[in-house]
Each structure stands twice: as C-alpha cells, then as structure tokens.
C-alpha cells in the first residue's frame, strides 16, 4: 500500500535530536555536563567548605542563590561538584558493567556449549541476589569510598546486559554475514570484534544510558543509608544528609533530589530516543 519514504541514511545524532525525547534528553545532559565542567570557574574552592551561616534559604542571599545546608556549605557549589561525582560514578560503574556484561554475553553467545552454560549459570546466580542488597554488602564490607561504591554498582548490574548481548550475538552468529566472514578465513576474534560487536552496539548503547541512570539512583540510595563516601560531595550524599532536616528545611534534600531526577530523566529520554532511532522497524526521516 503506502510506499516507504526511504531517503538517504540520516546520521544517528541528527535522528536523535529530531525526536522530542532525544532533544530534551540531550539538552538536560548537556546542562549537567556543563555544570560538572564549569564547577571550578563558577564556584572556586572546596564545595565542602563552611562558607556561610547554616540553613540559608535559597534566594535569601544573593551570593548564595541556592542557599546553604546545615553546616553552612554552599548548595550551588555542592550541586556543581556533585554533578561531576555523580556522572563519574554513573559512567565508570556503567563502563564496568558494559565490560563484564558485553564480555560475558558475547563469549556465551559466540562459543555456546559449556562456556555458555557456565556463564549463564553465573549470570543467573548474580540475578537471584538482589542487586541493591549485594552492592550494599560490598560497600559495607570494603568501607564506603568513591572506588568501592563505583565497583559495587558496576559489578552487580551486569547480568541483564549480558542476557541482551548474548541474545543479539546468538542471532548474528548464524547469519550469512558471519558465515561469509568465516568462509574468508577470519579468525574468531576478528569476527567477534569487527563483525558481531558493532552490530550489537545499538541495544548496548540504549541500555548504557539506562544503566548510568540506575547507577546514579543506586549511589543516592547507598548515601541515604549512610554508605556514601564522606570525603566527596555527591548528590546522593547531599540528599542523605538533608534527610535529617527534611521537615524543617526540605530544600537541602530537595535540590540535589531534583538534580538526580533531572539527570536520570535526561538519560532515560535519551535512551528512548536512541532505542527509537536505532530500531530498524521504525526508521523515519
């Protein structure tokens, strides 16, 4: 019936920006990235410094537009430097997850047989332990610090990704493209890296943005339970600290809470746009 309007392949970036969720998501993330980068310029010095009277409400004093917390620390500085830490934790933890998840998934899917069984049993094992409880245990055991938190989040979030990657690799593995490559005498590693993985990039990219979002949420939950890194300002830590004064000065916990919501929302929107843009069935102009 209606012919499809297959025009030239529009670059991925443009296709994302064309979608409303992609545009909004990218703008939000760009702002957060900017905040993280400009922290030194906008608010030089240590965000943990007690620079003013405590419990200054936002907007009451010009030099501290976002007010101060219970120890007189500038919330604006906290948010800026916090952006850096939260994004750092989110991205590095996700990198770890991608490393393990894609690795395990690809190997399981490609080699099948006993290796697949072994990897899948481990995936199942990790999936039956509640991820947050597992991360909690790791951080409490290894003493909370930036590295232990990032490691804990990264190590407990990979099973679902491994399953997705395995499914994709399984599908590709028997496709003609791979058979052709084998026929040309390409070694396993070459096939895996050059042929299969690039095609798995789509779904991995989509789940990557969701993973970063989840990592940031997990970090804030750990901080809420008192397992945040005390030497570093992070949004999760600020919300955890703000909890004590929630009834009287709710802005202390609200502002970093909103920042978390913004980033996670932005990442999810970007994830949706990516999924949409990369989905072969719905290639639109």
């Amino acid at each position: 019936m209606s012919g499809s309007f297959s025009s030239a392949r529009v670059p991925l970036g443009l296709r994302i920006l064309r979608r409303p969720s992609g545009a909004v998501g990218s703008v939000v993330l760009a702002l957060v990235g900017l905040a993280a980068l400009s922290a030194e310029i906008v608010r030089p010095g240590d965000p943990l410094d007690m620079v003013a009277a405590p419990f200054l409400w936002p907007g009451t004093e010009s030099s501290y537009p976002l007010g101060t917390d219970m120890l007189g620390r500038d919330l604006a500085a906290g948010l800026l430097y916090g952006a850096r830490v939260s994004l750092l934790i989110g991205v590095v933890a996700t990198a770890i997850t991608l490393g393990i998840g894609v690795g395990a998934g690809a190997l399981a899917g490609f080699y099948r047989g006993r290796l697949d069984q072994a990897l899948m049993r481990t995936t199942e094992l990790f999936q039956t332990i509640p991820p947050f409880l597992f991360a909690l245990a790791i951080v409490a055991v290894l003493q909370p610090s930036l590295t232990t938190i990032t490691f804990a989040i990264g190590v407990t979030a990979w099973p679902s990704l491994a399953r997705i990657v395995r499914a994709e690799v399984l599908a590709l593995r028997d496709g003609e493209m791979v058979q052709a490559a084998i026929a040309l005498g390409a070694g396993d590693a070459r096939i895996l890296l050059l042929h299969i993985l690039p095609n798995v990039l789509g779904p991995v990219l989509v789940s990557a943005s969701i993973l970063v979002a989840t990592a940031i949420l997990t970090e804030s939950s750990l901080a809420f339970l008192g397992l945040g890194d005390p030497n570093v300002v992070s949004w999760g830590g600020m919300v955890g600290a703000g909890r004590e004064v929630l009834r009287t000065d709710w802005y202390v916990a609200a502002l970093p809470g909103l920042a978390i919501v913004a980033v996670v929302l932005g990442l999810n929107l970007l994830g949706d746009a990516l999924a949409d843009a990369l989905d072969p069935r719905r290639t639109r102009r």
Binding site: M1, S2, G3, F5, R285
Partner: protein, 341 residues
C-alpha cells in the same frame, strides 16, 4: 437484479511529506451482483488491498477514504470513513460483508482456541449463548471441510497447517452468512496444491450462499478460472473493467495487453520466447501526478494527449476501458488460449 455491492468514486489517500496527501486509490467505481465474482487485478502497490480494506472500513488510522456512493448489501453508507458512524460500520463488518485475509499464519490470535475465535464471529452479530455459538462454529468448521473439526475447536492456531488455518478464516467469514465476501489474495501464501482446493471451497460457498465475491489477486490464472468480471488497476486507477471472456479475448487497454503478454505459455512448443516485460516501473505514491494517464510514461502506444488529458472510461465490448486509443481501434490480439492450471 441490482448489485449487492455498489461503489462509485472511491478514493483512498495517505499522509505524504510536509502535510500533503498521496493518492493510493483514485475515483474507483464498480458493482457486483449476488453470486457474481469480480476480480480486482494489478501489480503490487496498485491499491487493490487498500480498496478491499476500504470496503470494510479497516484502513489504518492515518488513511482517508471518500466515496460518491457506497452501498453494501442494501445499506447506503453516508461516508467511506468508518469513524463517521462506527456502530453502523461495525454491524456491517462480518455481518453483511466479510473478509478473507492473505496471511493465515498471522491472521489468527495465537492465545485463543479456534473454537473461541469462530464462535466469537457468530456472537458478534447474533444474540446467542456461547453453547449455541460453539455449535455453529463446529458446523462452520465442517462446512470448510476441516479434518476432525471437534478437535480443531479446542486446538490453537500454531497446531494447524497454513491451509487449515485459511479454512478457519473462511469459516469465520461465513459465520453470519454475509452478502459480500472480500478475499484479499486468499491463496498467495499457500502452496499450489492447497491453493486450488481453497479456491474451489470459496467458489462452492459462494454458489451456495449467493454471496457476491470481490477477489483481489495478481494471478491472472486465477482470474481466468474464477472471475465473472475483471477490474484491472494501475497506480490507484481502474484502467479497464470487462467481462472476463472479453478481457482475455480482446484486451482494450495497452496495460492489460502488456499484462497478458507478460504471461508464460506453458503449452508453447516453439523456441522459447523471451518473456515480454513492461519497461520502467510502477510510479511510487509520491510520483503520481494528477494530469494525464498514469501508464503514459510506460505505454508502447502513447499519444500526446495521454500525458496531459486523463482518459475517462469509454464503453467497450463487455465493459469499459480508460484509454484515448480505445475510441479508434479494438482489433483483437492473437486469440488467447485457455488460462494455465
């Protein structure tokens, strides 16, 4: 006996780039009497499926359908857009006019039993209990000659073969003895051996119920065997509507002639002729200018007027054809032999 399906000026359009509308079907008119079979034939993309769906109001949401006249089984429909009077259209569907789809593998709901899906068709239009409806369903399954119908009632679609599923679809279409049957390439997805038996079944049912049958197909062999009258479509327009015998004997429109010439001759013993092709390709939805005859760019006997003046339908033996050349010559082509198997 006046026609049970009477359509005039039927047009269907789809959204195009930057808010424009693209014509899939343009100003189509035809009528079918009870018991008669009209075959709508044309290359894929000529709008025959859109026409079929328009008759039942099953076009996708973004499609727009209009018609000067649309009378189905005695009901005069005010507009071709089902949303204008949803309840009337709903009562039509399955009740007075029913459809048989092309893809039996996906046409049935995988999680419901065959019995439920057929009985459902009965209960959609008749206030009967489930038990009665199941009884009717069993009869229908027998009617379409399904092996062991009792077990089929309880079976799920994935447990039946393609041919058996198509019979179930036919059973569902027959549920309320519709006056008009629309079959959209009912056998294309089946293998050849099953095709003939399914088409025989449809023909048998049609004779028994005196239903009018609109048979959508691109298979000229099927048309020759089964159709009383034929409507040839090209790029959304009717180019020729004739009695089947006259069409095969003396195709009036150059496109029809080209279509017939493009068929292999199984009985031919001489040197194997190179199959005749039609140069160029069917214009996409976006490339269909309003002026002139759509086939002009590919027509072997094109005239200057063909590019500018849209040819109206002109009377020809046993029907009409929309071509400027029709007025002058209707000399017959070499005699058409009986259609292939």
């Amino acid at each position: 006996m006046d026609p049970v399906l009477d359509v005039d000026g039927l047009s269907v359009s789809f959204p195009g780039p930057r808010g424009t509308r693209l014509p899939a079907v343009e100003d189509l008119g035809f009528a079918v009497r009870p018991g008669e079979t009209l075959a709508i034939v044309g290359e894929s993309g000529c709008g025959k499926s859109a026409t079929a769906l328009a008759l039942l109001g099953l076009l996708p949401a973004n499609a727009a359908a209009t018609a000067r006249r649309l009378r189905i089984a005695g009901t005069e429909l005010s507009s071709a857009d089902p949303r204008s009077s949803p309840e009337i259209w709903r009562r039509q569907r399955g009740g007075r006019i029913a459809m048989i789809f092309q893809e039996p593998l996906t046409a049935l709901n995988p999680v419901l039993t065959i019995g439920e899906q057929v009985a459902e068709a009965v209960r959609a239009h008749e206030l009967v209990s489930w038990r009665t409806a199941r009884g009717r369903a069993l009869d229908l399954l027998r009617r379409v000659r399904l092996p062991s119908p009792e077990r089929c009632l309880e079976a799920y679609p994935h447990q039946l073969s393609g041919g058996m599923r198509q019979r179930v679809v036919i059973a569902m279409a027959l549920a309320c003895r519709p006056a008009v049957l629309v079959a959209d390439e009912p056998t294309t997805a089946l293998d050849v051996t099953v095709q003939a038996r399914v088409l025989d079944l449809i023909g048998e049912i049609q004779r028994e119920t005196r239903a009018a049958l609109v048979l959508i197909t691109h298979d000229l062999g099927v048309v020759a065997d089964r159709a009383d009258r034929v409507l040839v479509m090209y790029a959304g327009r009717a180019v020729e509507t004739r009695h089947a015998r006259d069409l095969f004997a003396a195709p009036a429109h150059p496109y029809t002639r080209a279509l017939l010439a493009a068929r292999p001759r199984p009985g031919w013993t001489g040197p194997r002729p190179r199959l005749a092709e039609i140069p160029g390709r069917v214009p996409g939805l976006a490339e269909r200018g309003a002026a002139g005859c759509r086939f002009a760019p590919r027509c072997a006997s094109v005239l200057p007027d063909c590019h500018t003046l849209r040819p109206g339908p002109r009377p020809v033996a046993g029907g009409e054809a929309a071509c400027h050349r029709v007025a002058e010559t209707t000399e017959p082509e070499e005699p058409a032999r009986a259609a292939c198997a």
